[in-house]
């Protein structure tokens, strides 16, 4: 660990272990996880169900306590980082509050963090623009399609100044076409804001299309089996997915996945 990496590193995990105590005995969700995420990285986590992707994201966000090893975020503990409101977290389902309209949903973190009314208005308009939802501020979540809801929840995570955006299968429930579209937009947004993004997905093309770094995980116990740095350029049109490099990386990811998968389908 030289000084150079530490200054650039946003997340540093060393020999991380996490064991859940359950009624059926302990479950090892993470074993010996080592990972460095640098500022501005777009890191995807891929792996079969139950391999610990969500758990790792939650550890980063201080929603879960590791039982062994170390992890720092911006040089401090995840919990300190949480208190400094370093995270925007996007959950698999949109998790919008049904009793608040879109604008007030996006205001929620701003209210809690004590932004002024004027500032709140300004930011809501900004992020709504960003996710192309201007004009829908007065609608309630259930009046929007699944894709729009998911965009609203991303807007909510963007509204305050978190450097780190953690997204847990944000597009899992959407159909392929909508998904493609949101992927494109997400990339643009990332390019514009230069946030550090942690992204969980089940889809190989999605992971390859979005990431600068793909973390392949395998279950029982959850561990990292491969970390693939993507050579794709930052500018990525949708049809980059038909390019040989893309197919090559996708192939490597699939192989990595299959190796870790075993036969417990």
């Amino acid at each position: 660990m030289n000084t150079e990496t530490t200054t650039k590193a946003v997340v540093e995990a060393r020999n991380l272990d996490l064991v859940f105590q359950t009624n059926d005995g302990p479950v090892q969700a993470l074993r010996d996880v080592n990972l460095t995420i640098n500022k501005g990285d777009f890191v995807s986590f891929i792996g079969p169900s139950g391999c610990g992707k969500t758990t790792f994201l939650r550890v980063m966000a201080a929603l879960e306590q590791p039982t062994g090893g170390e992890i720092t975020v911006n040089g401090m503990t995840p919990d300190e980082a949480r208190r400094q409101r370093a995270y925007g977290y996007v959950f698999q389902a949109s998790g919008l509050y049904p009793w608040r309209n879109i604008a007030r949903n996006i205001k929620l973190p701003l209210e809690i963090m004590g932004y002024s009314k004027a500032e709140q208005e300004k930011r809501v308009n900004e992020v709504l623009e960003l996710v192309e939802l201007s004009g829908f501020e007065g609608k309630y979540p259930w009046q929007l399609s699944g894709g729009m809801q998911q965009r609203a929840s991303i807007a909510r995570a963007l509204a305050f100044d978190a450097d780190i955006l953690l997204m847990d299968e944000p597009f899992g429930a959407l159909d392929e076409i909508v998904r493609d579209h949101l992927n494109e937009q997400l990339l643009k947004l990332w390019a514009r804001t230069n946030k550090t993004i942690g992204f969980v997905t089940h889809s190989i093309p999605e992971a390859v299309y979005l990431s600068t770094k793909i973390v392949v995980m395998s279950p029982r116990p959850g561990r990292i089996t491969d970390v693939i740095e993507s050579p794709l350029p930052k500018e990525r049109p949708l049809d980059i997915r038909d390019s040989p490099e893309f197919i090559e990386i996708a192939h490597r990811v699939r192989e990595g996945l299959r190796a870790g998968h075993g036969d417990d389908v």
Binding site: R58, A61, A62, L63, R82, R83, Q84, R85, Y87, G88, Y89, F91, Q92, A93, G95, Y97, P98, W99, R100, N101, L108, P109, E111, I112, M113, Y140, W142, F160
Partner: protein
């Protein structure tokens, strides 16, 4: 529309049955009266009729059928008797400009209602406070909840006179003792519903707030409270009906001076079945109105919160 037709149909069937039921229920009394008035009754003598089947008596004495619907103190008053009594003690009173006289059900309804509302307010407040405590404190959850269930197995009517006497002795009189009994009955559904409601946010919604580093207080107002609203209203509807019963129970031992409970008791005391039935219906109508009112408030609140789809 469909519902209205269905309800009306069911109601007319019930009323038809009700009229029919008056025959066997009242026949013995009617025959005894008729016999006293000199009519020919088969068989003669109330004692002989005591163990005979009511249906047989109706068949043997069909001249008495009309009278079973017009008795003074029937075992089962006919629907129109109840309706007439209800009208006499409500609408007719209003027309006479004596809406708040002692013989008006509006007066008695109001007496009961005021205790109900006060008790409901106390019970709801207490219920919500307890629920908040239970949700936020494990100790309260583990120790209070089982005893709250036990509390509901205690027959309140047995305690009511004692509660009233104890409150007397500390100088509390009037509406408050009744309200406390009604609060005792209404707090439980509120606690149960509110605990459920305050716990209804899923782990994800709670985690979201954690990522914002929201305080307990902020979490309560921004998430738990709004999420609990639908549950709250459901239990409020149960609670207000329970409150009304509590207020009525509370009226019985306090001298049954006024209120629907006093009407029930007075009716029972003097064998005025028609009066009992009309007070019963008045209470049920009052309960229905209160529940409907809560329904309207619920719809309004949830709509303003954007929660009614």
């Amino acid at each position: 529309m469909k519902t209205v037709v269905a309800v009306l149909t069911v109601l007319s069937v019930i009323i038809a049955f009700w009229y029919a039921a008056c025959l066997p229920m009242n026949i013995k009394g009617v025959l005894t009266e008729a016999e006293r008035a000199g009519a020919e009754v088969t068989p003669a003598g109330a004692k002989e009729r005591r163990d005979l089947s009511e249906f047989g008596l109706v068949l043997d004495n069909n001249f008495a059928i009309a009278a079973t619907w017009a008795q003074d103190r029937p075992r089962l008053p006919a629907p129109h008797q109840v309706a007439v009594e209800l009208w006499k003690t409500t609408g007719a009173m209003v027309l006479k400009g004596k809406m708040m006289s002692k013989r008006s059900l509006f007066y008695h309804g109001w007496v009961t209602l005021s205790a109900t509302l006060l008790g409901f307010a106390i019970g709801t407040g207490l219920g919500i406070l307890l629920a908040v405590g239970i949700v936020h404190s494990r100790v309260m959850d583990m120790s209070v909840m089982p005893w709250a269930i036990v509390s509901q197995t205690i027959p309140i009517i047995a305690l009511a006179p004692m509660i009233i006497v104890v409150l007397y002795s500390v100088g509390v009189q009037g509406i408050l003792p009744k309200a406390i009994i009604s609060a005792y009955l209404s707090f439980f559904p509120v606690v149960v519903g509110m605990v459920k409601g305050l716990r209804s946010p899923d782990a994800m919604q709670l985690d979201l707030l954690r990522t914002y580093n929201a305080s307990l207080n902020q979490g309560f107002w921004a998430l738990r409270l709004p999420a609990s609203m639908p549950y709250l209203f459901t239990s409020l509807k149960i609670g207000i009906a329970a409150s009304l019963v509590g207020a009525i129970v509370g009226e019985l031992p306090t001298g049954a001076v006024a209120g629907l409970g006093a009407r029930l008791l007075g009716g029972s005391y003097y064998g005025q079945t028609v009066q009992i039935w009309s007070a019963l219906f008045a209470a049920a109508i009052l309960a229905a109105c209160l529940v409907a009112l809560l329904g309207v408030i619920e719809r309004g609140v949830l709509k303003r919160m954007g929660m009614s789809a």
